[in-house]
């Protein structure tokens, strides 16, 4: 019962909007501090890689981008289930406002990977499983953006987008296990839940900081972008009208 009340409350756009307003400064502040600390540490203070030299320093942005690109998709897939089963509006706001963020993160993972590949593998791009499945992830994100905008009716658009997101979710385990299932140039996972990282602490600590920092900044972006989405969809409600009135320019 209380779980249902919580669920109902969480589905209330006004409640989410207010919570987001309170979280926004904290997410931005801690996210920036952690990410910047991680990046400066990784760029200037972490030791050189004995094999790759300094090019490996790209890892401090490549891994957070790639990591988040996949977890944003998983979050969108969970939201898609909520959209289809409970028809919760907020879930669709999340999917449609965050798809561009996922697309950008996937692009960054691909781009930094290509630039890292040149001095390390001697090539910008190979059509291997990991790289190809990441490229498919980028196309999936773009598909979600285009489909969502192509359908004017809010409910049909939400349903169509949710189905597309759920169909595409098979790609996520393919990305994750591609380095184990197929022969690839790509190195295996840096962090796993079961084993200690194979890199020394001076390398993985800054990496962990930048991953957590980017996660928090993603949280900040989620709050800001979902607030915009809520304002658009709820513009007829009295609380949005009052809020617009008090903030109006």
């Amino acid at each position: 019962m209380s779980m249902w009340r919580w669920f109902h409350k969480f589905g209330s756009p006004k409640w989410f909007f207010d919570i987001a307003s309170r979280l926004i400064p904290w997410l931005l502040g801690t996210g920036l501090v952690l990410l910047l600390t991680g990046l400066v540490w990784g760029l200037a203070f972490a030791p050189q890689d004995y094999l790759q030299g300094n090019s490996y320093r790209i890892i401090f942005i490549h891994v957070p981008s790639a990591f988040l690109a996949q977890s944003v998709y998983l979050m969108m897939a969970s939201a898609a289930v909520v959209t289809l089963v409970w028809k919760m509006k907020l879930a669709d706001v999340f999917v449609q406002t965050m798809a561009p963020v996922g697309a950008l993160l996937t692009f960054l993972a691909l781009f930094t990977g290509a630039v890292w590949g040149k001095p390390t593998w001697g090539t910008w791009w190979v059509w291997d499983a990991r790289l190809t499945s990441m490229l498919i992830l980028l196309f999936l994100y773009c598909g979600v953006i285009v489909l969502g905008r192509a359908i004017a009716d809010e409910k049909s658009s939400a349903r169509a987008v949710a189905v597309l997101v759920l169909v595409g979710v098979v790609n996520i385990p393919i990305i994750k296990y591609s380095v184990d299932w197929w022969n690839t140039l790509h190195q295996p996972a840096t962090f796993t839940l079961t084993k200690r990282p194979s890199m020394p602490v001076e390398m993985w600590a800054p990496l962990l900081l930048s991953v957590v920092g980017l996660y928090l900044l993603f949280g900040w972006l989620t709050c800001v972008r979902m607030q915009t989405g809520i304002l658009v969809r709820e513009h007829r409600t009295s609380w949005v009208r009052a809020l617009v009135r008090s903030q109006g320019v």
Binding site: A44, F45, A46, N54, F111, V224, V244, R245, V249
Partner: protein, 84 residues
């Protein structure tokens, strides 16, 4: 610090261009996304604010035109009638 000088830090034993390109694109992309997201929110609020003002003005002028003098006939009005 892993590097002897600032120049060495920038050069990174030849890997500088690769590393700095990645960091520059990453920073620009994220700052751009953050800026765009904030701007979008402000734009939506501003747009709705002006829509509310317009609706109120329309309402007010409609009220003025339909106001009656008590006899049931519309009061004489010298205000200009705005199209739309």
């Amino acid at each position: 610090m892993q590097f002897d000088s600032f120049a060495a830090f920038l050069f990174m034993e030849g890997h500088g261009p690769y590393v700095w390109t990645c960091y520059a694109v990453f920073t620009l992309a994220l700052v751009g996304l953050a800026w765009w997201s904030l701007k979008q929110r402000t734009a939506v609020i501003r747009q709705q604010y002006h829509a509310q003002l317009r609706a109120e003005r329309r309402q007010a002028s409609a009220d003025a035109h339909t106001a009656t003098d008590g006899s049931g006939t519309p009061a004489a009005s010298f205000s200009r009638i705005h199209p739309s």
